[in-house]
């Protein structure tokens, strides 16, 4: 339907936060006033993965026009100039940046995000949705597993276990009752691809789970979604209701004897529940303590029954694979890592957002291509943090590492769920390590001693180092303790928690040395190691620091060097953030 005129408005969590609902309402009003309400269809879509306040696409005789940073007050002008006048409304037209961000991507799982109305099953079907189910339901179940196996798809939640093999294990496991679980407990700070998929294309996940159910012979499924994602849960509920109404879910799917039902379980806030055995315990209504494997969930999972657990992105890959064939999927990626991966690019890059690229791209390509380079040109890249609290920091010298499971593991980091946080010279690597350990200490379930006690000791040492109390002996302790925790913890949380410390120690030894030997923080992040004095040579006497100070500790008069009153200073670093000239040390 290329002739249909429509206006797409991005209304995911980010779009709504930027005032998207008011933009939508204003379009309704102004289109009606201009007498164009019947001509253009207004469609609310999910976030497209690039944060540009509210994004609006107008598709009409002018082709497809994207407007970015749209404020509610811009809507009248867009309607008057574009819709009525037939001309581009230049002030909000998306720039080259926007188009480059998408041009360098290959979108398979994000294809529908920001393009279709996630609360409308017809739009999903029009984009090819549920075609895979309609074809697969009449074929023998093993064909589905064979297709997924042949595609080379590996688990996108971090582990990278071959998905087809997992399906096979579950299918082969003896048992009348089997379960499918979707792990939507996206807890890695810095990863938000699962949220975008659930908000932007929930039917893809639902369809992927139904296909998995057919393949392994499960009739019940659970989506375990973190409660921090209320919009994702709401949209999943809509998708499940619609799919049930159309006979894709529930008893006798598409009038066959096969059945599959889906329930949503809202998490209650525990990072460790991303670990599959802890997640199962949580669905069972218990504390989310992991248990040792084997038995694997494929043999004995939810309520002791064979259970298949995959994450959101993995399930979202399944319908396109079944629809287009294993070979089509396998053309993307590398020998051992097939397909695409969605990365959540964030931190100090120009374009932050979700980037889907074929496996095997280099980190440099991601940062310079879709990322658009560094946020502040004069501050060079210092490191890239991959894989959240379980991952590691890679220095600028390793930017040409390809992103596939094996290459990343070799560096000491892990692919993880795909969080990629870019840091410039204003980030302190010791502080970053401390930050992650602080997180894992809080989230450790406490079952294994090395993880519960060992991480806490590591945190105390790191805090000492950051506050200028560190000694060289502390560094030996950190590496030794890190290795012990890795080898002696039961679950993935403990086994990977020391990674951020070990990788930063490996790649940034000089920064640790500066902290323990010279009592200096080269990035001026660790407040106790910063003097809070203004450098006469660098200061241009602009007064930005004085204005930013919440404690009135920076004295400044027009044309004069700013002075920091150490008695009043609360070491909040507002002045350092405000100074564009690195004049405060």
């Amino acid at each position: 339907m290329s002739t249909e005129k429509k206006i797409l408005i991005c209304l995911g969590t980010s779009g709504i936060a930027a005032g998207g609902k008011a933009v939508l309402a204003n379009f309704e009003t102004h289109l009606a006033q201009a007498g164009k309400a019947d001509e253009y269809r207004l469609v609310s879509v999910g976030d497209r993965g690039l944060f540009r306040d509210v994004l609006v696409d107008v598709i009409d005789g002018l082709g497809r026009t994207t407007y970015e940073h749209v404020r509610p007050e811009d809507v009248e002008d867009i309607v008057q100039t574009h819709i009525v006048g037939g001309e581009l409304y230049a002030p909000r037209a998306a720039g080259a940046d926007y188009h480059e961000f998408f041009a360098s991507q290959t979108r398979i799982v994000l294809a529908n995000c920001g393009e279709i109305n996630p609360e409308c099953i017809d739009e999903y079907c029009a984009a090819g949705g549920y075609a895979a189910l309609q074809a697969a339901i009449f074929e023998p179940a093993h064909m589905l597993t064979d297709t997924v196996k042949a595609s080379g798809l590996r688990g996108r939640g971090g582990g990278g276990f071959p998905t087809g093999v997992k399906w096979q294990f579950t299918a082969d496991a003896p048992g009348e009752q089997k379960y499918i679980i979707c792990n939507a407990d996206e807890g890695d700070p810095g990863a938000f691809m699962d949220r975008a998929i659930l908000e932007g294309d929930p039917h893809a996940v639902v369809e992927g789970m139904i296909l998995a159910g057919l393949a392994v012979g499960a009739t019940e499924g659970y989506i375990y979604c973190r409660a921090e994602y209320p919009l994702a849960i709401a949209r999943l509920e809509v998708a499940i209701a619609q799919a049930t109404e159309r006979g894709m879910l529930g008893e006798s799917i598409l009038n066959t004897p096969k059945s599959f039902t889906l329930k949503i379980k809202a998490g209650a806030g525990a990072f460790v529940c991303g670990e599959e055995t802890a997640l199962i315990a949580s669905i069972e209504g218990k504390r989310g303590n992991p248990v040792s494997k084997p038995p694997f969930p494929a043999q004995s999972g939810l309520w002791g029954c064979p259970t298949l657990i995959n994450n959101v992105e993995t399930f979202a890959n399944v319908p396109p694979i079944v629809r287009n064939g294993a070979e089509w999927f396998a053309q993307y990626g590398t020998e051992n890592s097939k397909g695409t991966k969605v990365f959540a690019l964030a931190g100090k890059v120009k374009n932050t957002g979700l980037v889907e690229v074929p496996m095997g791209m280099t980190i440099r390509h991601l940062v310079d291509g879709p990322g658009g380079g560094m946020l502040v040109k004069r501050l060079p890249l210092k490191g890239v943090q991959l894989g959240g609290p379980s991952g590691g920091c890679l220095p600028a010298s390793l930017l040409d590492t390809p992103v596939d499971y094996e290459s990343i593991t070799q560096t000491g980091a892990i692919m993880g769920s795909g969080g990629m946080v870019v840091m410039d010279t204003q980030s302190c690597m010791v502080d970053i390590a401390r930050f992650f350990v602080e997180f894992t200490v809080a989230e450790s379930c406490g079952k294994c001693t090395p993880c519960r006690v060992g991480l806490k000791r590591m945190l105390e040492i790191l805090e000492d180092i950051c506050s200028g109390q560190g000694t060289p002996a502390h560094l030996d302790f950190l590496s030794e303790m890190g290795e012990t925790i890795k080898s002696m913890s039961l679950c993935g949380l403990g086994q990977t928690a020391p990674n951020p410390v070990l990788t930063t120690m490996k790649y940034y030894p000089e920064e640790y040395a500066a902290h323990v030997e010279d009592r200096e923080c080269p990035a001026h992040v660790c407040a106790e190691l910063v003097d809070f004095v203004v450098d006469d040579d660098k200061c241009i006497r602009c007064g930005a620091c004085s204005r930013a100070c919440p404690a009135e500790a920076v004295h400044w008069q027009k044309g004069q060097l700013a002075k920091i009153d150490s008695d009043r200073c609360i070491q909040c670093k507002a002045c350092i953030s405000a100074c564009k000239f690195d004049a405060i040390r």
């Binding site: 936060a17 700070p189 938000f192 209650a268 209504g285 989310g288 964030a346 909040c572």
Partner: protein, 159 residues
């Protein structure tokens, strides 16, 4: 403070008795009261025939459950990686100073509770702060002050 126990009873009546119902029941109780009161724990324990200690085990394990009443609006300051790199620690400290409460605390007037959260999943908008259900991006100290003023005014208005 005594609570209206019939509300707990109706939650229990509306819920099934099958496997895995305990956490959803506790979530419903918290939605009703804003926290999980002691009387509610006793009532749930008796009805489901479990020990109260097992319920406290769950309540203290998951960070979303509260055992004390909360402020009217919860200010959640994201401390995810992207937010951390963009200065969210300073934002959290600023809220803490301005409101005079620590992470997890509630202001004396009962308007605000302050909480650090691991990740709100909007890393592109870092540093992110959520007040109630509303999300705010690129929050610095100035914007933090504005948020406190806006929401305090809202609280006074609705009183």
């Amino acid at each position: 403070m005594s609570i209206d126990i019939t509300k707990v009873e109706s939650i229990l009546a509306a819920s099934g008795r099958g496997k895995g119902v305990l956490i959803p029941i506790l979530q419903a109780v918290q939605n009703e009261f804003g926290y999980v009161p002691r009387e509610a724990v006793d009532c749930v324990a008796e009805t489901l025939d479990v020990f109260p200690v097992d319920i406290y085990g769950i309540l203290t394990f998951y960070s979303q459950f509260y055992l004390e009443p909360r402020g009217r609006y919860t200010i959640r300051v994201c401390q995810g990686t992207a937010c951390h790199v963009m200065g969210s620690k300073e934002v959290l400290d600023h809220f803490s100073r301005q409101l005079g409460i620590e992470d997890g605390g509630t202001t004396e007037d009962g308007v605000f509770s302050l909480e650090r959260v691991a990740c709100l999943g909007c890393c592109g908008m870092a540093p992110v702060v959520a007040v109630g259900e509303e999300f705010y991006g690129a929050v610095d100290m100035t914007k933090a002050d504005e948020l406190i003023a806006t929401w305090r005014a809202k609280a006074e208005e609705s009183e």
